[in-house]
């Protein structure tokens, strides 16, 4: 009556099936109601109006000498209303990778939290870090899981960046709402202000910039995005609210301290004030 050792229904396959190193797979099996958006699934193809829920906006990411940088502005909007001036949209995913989110803020924040636990869970169960490609694929699978909600107007579009410890370089990945994963070269941007940020990056970004220079490029790109996109917030010198910037290199992910960002942002504002250009 015994099944062949590796066959379906054998003891081995039962054990292998239950022993998953993926936290989201485990949740889907044991507590699917905890997955992002699971409780809110609207039936009957109802469209959620664009101005009904907060939306996160522009994220820029770019490579630099020995690593990769990601930066996000601090604004969330609901239609024409500013929903938040302090929202953070760039997060460390683990020691060697960061994640930025654009789209429906509530679901995006849940996806981020799940992704962070996913990576940590794998590390604890397996005793080793997931490869950068592996992390990028897991994120794609999670975004694909949100496709139903995306079709109802609650899309989440992340940007993923990390340091590849095997190849010893920083790499960027962008996604579409179906979970499609695309590796980007040099730099990339997502969100409502991405078109303007991208134009800015094309002129300002150069290969092998150092960390300080690349932080400046990121702040400039976000400034340009905020200049032309009403949903993107520029550096706020009155409230002292600056973009969130993370760099990742061989030493790991590091959040650029507020003081450094204040100095860079004020320098950008000052140089543009001096230039006195109208458009």
């Amino acid at each position: 009556m015994t099944m062949p050792a590796g066959g379906p229904g054998s003891v081995f396959s039962q054990i292998a099936h239950s022993a998953t190193a993926s936290f989201s797979e485990y949740l889907a099996r044991t507590a699917p109601e905890l997955l992002p958006g699971a409780r809110g699934a609207v039936s009957g193809g109802v469209q959620v109006p664009a101005g009904a829920v907060p939306h996160a906006t522009t994220i820029v990411a770019m490579t630099f000498a020995g690593g990769v940088l990601m930066a996000g502005d601090r604004r969330a909007t609901m239609g024409n209303v500013i929903a938040s001036r302090h929202i953070e949209k760039v997060f460390p995913a683990d020691q060697y990778s960061v994640l930025g989110i654009a789209g429906t803020a509530g679901i995006a924040l849940d996806v981020t939290r799940l992704f962070q636990v996913e990576l940590e869970h794998y590390e604890k169960i397996e005793g080793t870090l997931l490869s950068l490609e592996g992390k990028a694929n897991r994120l794609g699978a999670m975004i694909q899981g949100n496709l139903g909600l995306a079709m109802q107007g609650l899309a989440v579009v992340p940007l993923f960046a990390g340091y590849d410890t095997d190849r010893r370089e920083g790499r960027l990945f962008s996604y579409d709402i179906t979970g499609g994963r695309y590796e980007e070269q040099e730099h990339h941007s997502v969100g409502s202000g991405s078109v303007f940020a991208r134009g800015s990056l094309k002129k300002l970004w150069k290969p092998n910039l150092d960390e300080a220079a690349v932080v400046r490029v990121a702040v400039e790109a976000l400034y340009d995005a905020a200049d032309d996109d009403s949903a993107t917030g520029g550096p706020d010198a009155v409230r002292q609210v600056w973009p969130v910037v993370y760099t990742v290199n061989a030493a790991g992910a590091r959040r650029i301290p507020e003081a450094e960002l204040a100095a860079t942002s004020e320098a950008v504002i000052a140089s543009r004030t001096i230039a006195g250009r109208e458009a």
Binding site: A19, F23, Y26, L27, T30, A31, L34, R113, L114, V117, E120, H121, K124, I125, G127
Partner: protein
């Protein structure tokens, strides 16, 4: 026709307990020690990949002796329990006490109901902001749970090792001191100036050592307190090659 013989419940439980105890005593010892800098987990373990101590959550670690497949499945279950709890509530809501009571219940259920009890003994450690707030729980194969103060020794010659640690361990020690104390006890020699000449010498590659830092956020910029010490760092701590 096979005939069922009557076995009294007392005899049944005693047999199971003896069986589990024998399995646990065969292995090598693991120590979990609280100190000024945090909690050190020291195990005698020749394998670099089959771990006896592991991370459960931000401030919680796990140590075990006994059968590897059994405690490894318990460790993974613990990680899943902690991650689900932290994900659905908040990271701060995951406590060693909650985890230890789930372990106690499952060990207890297996001990009474399954064909074979788990041949394992576990420790669940949670590092607090001061040594007084550290929690060390010892869980035995029958589901008993004990809240220990200071240190826990499991497996092998646990009783004699506890006795030797009671004389040498102090709460005010830092990590290198407490690790040296633990390794001296494991090696079978007393700690300090006059070690027993008959003592075995435990080289760093026979030791598995991890720590739970008391304040990982300010010392390493990480909320995860668990850190495995690489063999080179263990050698440096033990001063191997100097004497």
């Amino acid at each position: 026709m096979t005939q069922q013989f009557y076995v009294s419940p007392e005899q049944l439980m005693k047999d199971r307990a003896d069986f589990a105890r024998k399995g646990i005593a065969r292995g090598r010892s693991v120590m979990v020690l609280s100190c000024r800098e945090g909690i050190a987990l020291v195990a005698e373990n020749p394998s670099v990949s089959l771990h006896k101590v592991g991370e459960i959550y931000d401030r919680i670690a796990f140590a075990a002796v006994g059968k590897y497949n059994e405690f490894e499945s318990l460790r993974q279950a613990g990680v899943r329990y902690a991650d689900v709890r932290g994900y659905s509530y908040n990271r701060g809501d995951v406590t060693a006490r909650g985890l230890a009571s789930v372990y106690a219940q499952s060990l207890g259920a297996v001990f009474t109901a399954d064909t074979k009890p788990f041949e394992v003994e576990l420790a669940v450690a949670e590092v607090g902001t001061t040594p007084a707030q550290d929690h060390l729980y010892r869980l035995t194969f029958d589901g008993s749970i004990a809240d220990e103060k200071g240190f826990v020794v499991m497996g092998g010659q646990a009783d004699s090792l506890s006795e030797s640690l009671r004389g040498s361990w102090q709460e005010s020690m830092d990590f290198p001191e407490v690790i040296r104390t633990a390794v001296a006890a494991l090696s079978g020699g007393g700690a300090g100036e006059n070690p027993d000449p008959g003592a075995r010498r435990l080289s760093p590659d026979l030791l598995e050592i991890a720590v739970l830092d008391r304040d990982p956020l300010s010392s390493r910029g990480n909320r995860r307190a668990f850190r495995r010490l690489p063999a080179a760092e263990v050698a440096a701590v033990l001063g191997t090659g100097e004497d």
